[in-house]
């Protein structure tokens, strides 16, 4: 299962990027004019991910897998939200 995790994570990340674009939340992260680039990236991630799940690497590196998993978990657990007028008052300083 661990050998396939790398491929599964890439597939999840690709799906998440597609979700951001389809749900209109993409603009909370990036300028929408780059959406086509991210769309192509998401498709390539799906190709790599599905390939990596079907043909898992012989020696997956736990560090690489953990770092990719951490990014996906953070993006899912702390989603970007639309800014309201009240956010103008917020400053970390």
């Amino acid at each position: 299962m661990f050998r396939r995790l790398e491929g599964i994570l890439l597939t999840v990340y690709g799906c998440f990027l597609l979700f951001l674009m389809l749900s209109g939340r993409y603009s909370l992260y990036m300028n929408p004019k780059y959406m086509w680039l991210t769309f192509v990236s998401a498709l390539m991630l799906l190709v790599y991910g599905i390939h990596g799940t079907i043909y898992p690497p012989e020696h997956p590196k736990p560090f690489y897998t953990a770092v990719i998993a951490l990014l996906i978990i953070l993006m899912l657990a702390v989603p970007a939200r639309e800014l309201g007028a009240g956010d103008m008052l917020f400053s970390p300083f």
Partner: protein, 296 residues
């Protein structure tokens, strides 16, 4: 606290999303080189002499364009194919700047300034020569690609040979490694964005030695892709044009995400020597331009 975490996640993930197409492209180019270009072909086409190798490395940037995010897997593969270190080092330094897409982006970013675009290219060529000559003097500056598992030299899970399946296997292998280092760097850069908003950076401003140094430090900490950095640099309106050049020239050579990505191809010691050489050169040239009143 949750708001800070949200800004951190947005900034970090935006850096990764911005770089994603380029590292995907870089990994694909790297894999195509690996699968379809034989070592014999590469060795035959490499010129003799360090100077000519560096010039070839710089010209290679025009034919295999890549921003700094995608450069590491390509360099790793070029080295594995027998490209000499000065040539791949020169390519590594020049490619994020001397490629058609970045040159157009620089021209647009500096609002149609041919002067800034040409000077950026010129400084990048100088840096490529400096690092190329440095690497010609170092013993084994790049890591050899590990041959720990099977005969063709990687742990990707493929079985050698050519074909679409093997191209994808190698591309994914390179991509995952580069992505992990990119994410680590993006986390550091995201933390910096949270701790130091752009308004604070802009309030420092100015001319002279300090401005050039400050902009180089910002280039390292902000970790903007070379295709977008001219837009960011030109937004620092309080800084001199020469210090903006320091920002756009030093950033593609060294920034927070590159610290981690370079570790895939070279030791910390080699990285330190390379960064110090490039930093000294970029700083000296930009300082001279600043004192000469460049772009003012």
């Amino acid at each position: 606290m949750y708001n800070l975490l949200q800004v951190f996640v947005i900034k970090s993930s935006a850096i990764v999303m911005e770089a994603l197409p380029f590292i995907l492209l870089g990994s694909l180019v790297s894999s195509l080189i690996h699968v379809y270009v034989s070592e014999e072909t590469v060795v035959k086409s490499v010129p003799d002499g360090v100077f000519r190798q560096i010039v070839s490395g710089i010209f290679l940037a025009l034919f295999i364009p890549s921003c700094e995010c995608g450069i590491v897997p390509i360099v790793r593969r070029l080295n594995a194919k027998g490209v000499p270190a000065p040539m791949s080092a020169a390519y590594m330094i020049a490619s994020p700047v001397i490629n058609p897409v970045v040159m157009i982006a620089t021209y647009a970013g500096f609002k149609g300034s041919a002067e800034m675009t040409l000077m950026r290219v010129f400084i990048s060529i100088l840096a490529a020569f400096a690092v190329g000559f440095l690497f010609s003097r170092l013993k084994d500056p790049f890591y050899a690609v590990k041959t720990e598992t099977h005969s063709h030299g990687c742990s990707c899970g493929c079985h050698g040979g050519r074909g679409f399946k093997n191209v994808i296997s190698h591309a994914k292998d390179d991509f995952v490694q580069t992505l992990a280092y990119l994410i680590t760097g993006a986390f550091f850069a995201g933390a910096f964005h949270v701790l130091m908003p752009e308004s604070v950076i802009n309030s420092i401003g100015g001319h002279g030695a300090a401005a050039v140094a400050v902009m180089m430090v910002f280039a390292v900490l902000l970790s903007v892709c070379s295709e977008a950095d001219s837009f960011v640099a030109s937004s620092f309106v309080r800084f001199s044009p020469a210090s903006m050049l320091a920002f756009v020239n030093f950033g593609p050579i060294f920034d927070l995400k590159l610290v981690f990505m370079y570790r895939a191809v070279m030791s910390n010691r080699t990285m330190t020597k390379m960064v110090l050489t490039a930093a000294a050169l970029v700083y000296a040239v930009c300082l001279l331009l600043d004192y000469a009143g460049f772009g003012v």
